[in-house]
Amino acid sequence: MEALGVWNYWVVVLLMMIGLYTVIARDHLVKKLIGLGVFQVSVIMFYVSMGKVTGGTAPIIPDEVPAEGILYSNPLPHVLMLTAIVVGVATLAVGLALVVRIREAYGTAEEDELQRMNGAQS
């Protein structure tokens, strides 16, 4: 029964592996970035689910009702992941910009074709 308590981490690992498979097995570079996004979201999910407290509430202190004795979920993972999401989209944009430039230079964004081209040149 104790092992079933960590089912949330199992789902996270499952999502992470789907993302990882997309990154290493698919050829199109944009598809790899989408896979990387799935991977990233699974890491965020890992942290946020770690911060959840059963019976807790969102870490915002209510105004009028007596605020003592309320159980809050851990705010620290929320802070870290909040910034990570926005940084994630900024780095995703850098990745997409790189793909666009690769596509312009080589005429394709498929990794196997790129490798074939590089092999033919050298």
Binding site: I60, L82, V89, A90, A97
Partner: protein, 148 residues
């Protein structure tokens, strides 16, 4: 917006009318999220993204040229750096007032709590500015490029 939208979009009346209603609401909501972030869910990161999303929607419906007339590239380019400068500047201001870097308590003479409120408000503004401007800059760079 007096300038003409691109040909294909002009026919999509529903999109244009709906976006005219929604875009001001999105921008207003972004400002609410920005300045109410101390009290409810929200803050600079979310507000910046929502603000940029409003302008991106505008750009998608009315065309990039129209968007660039509303928000010129020079403003976007400068805001990217300005937001980070505001954030760092608050830290330096704390140093100059005799506190530690990013220790906002010294920003107000009377109570350190007010200083903290002020500091958090200003750095959230800086964060929001940088995030919104960066997202818009990325959109400009991506959408303004021709397929070769």
């Amino acid at each position: 917006m007096s300038s003409k939208p691109p040909m294909r979009m002009r026919e999509k009346v529903l999109l244009r009318v709906a976006s005219r209603v929604f875009i001001p609401l999105i921008l207003l909501f972004a400002l609410y999220v920005q300045f109410h972030g101390d009290f409810g869910p929200g803050g600079g990161f979310q507000a910046g993204v929502i603000f940029a999303a409003g302008f991106v929607l505008f750009g998608l419906i009315f065309g990039l040229e129209t968007l660039q007339q509303v928000v010129p590239w020079s403003i976007v380019e400068r805001s990217v750096a300005l937001g980070l400068l505001i954030f760092g500047g608050v830290g330096v201001a704390c140093l100059l007032r005799g506190g530690r870097f990013l220790d906002y308590g010294v920003l107000d003479h009377h109570s350190s709590m007010h200083g903290q409120h002020l500091g958090i408000l200003i750095i959230e503004l800086g964060v929001g500015l940088t995030v919104a401007a960066t997202m818009l800059a990325i959109f400009y760079a991506m959408a303004g490029r021709e397929r070769t």
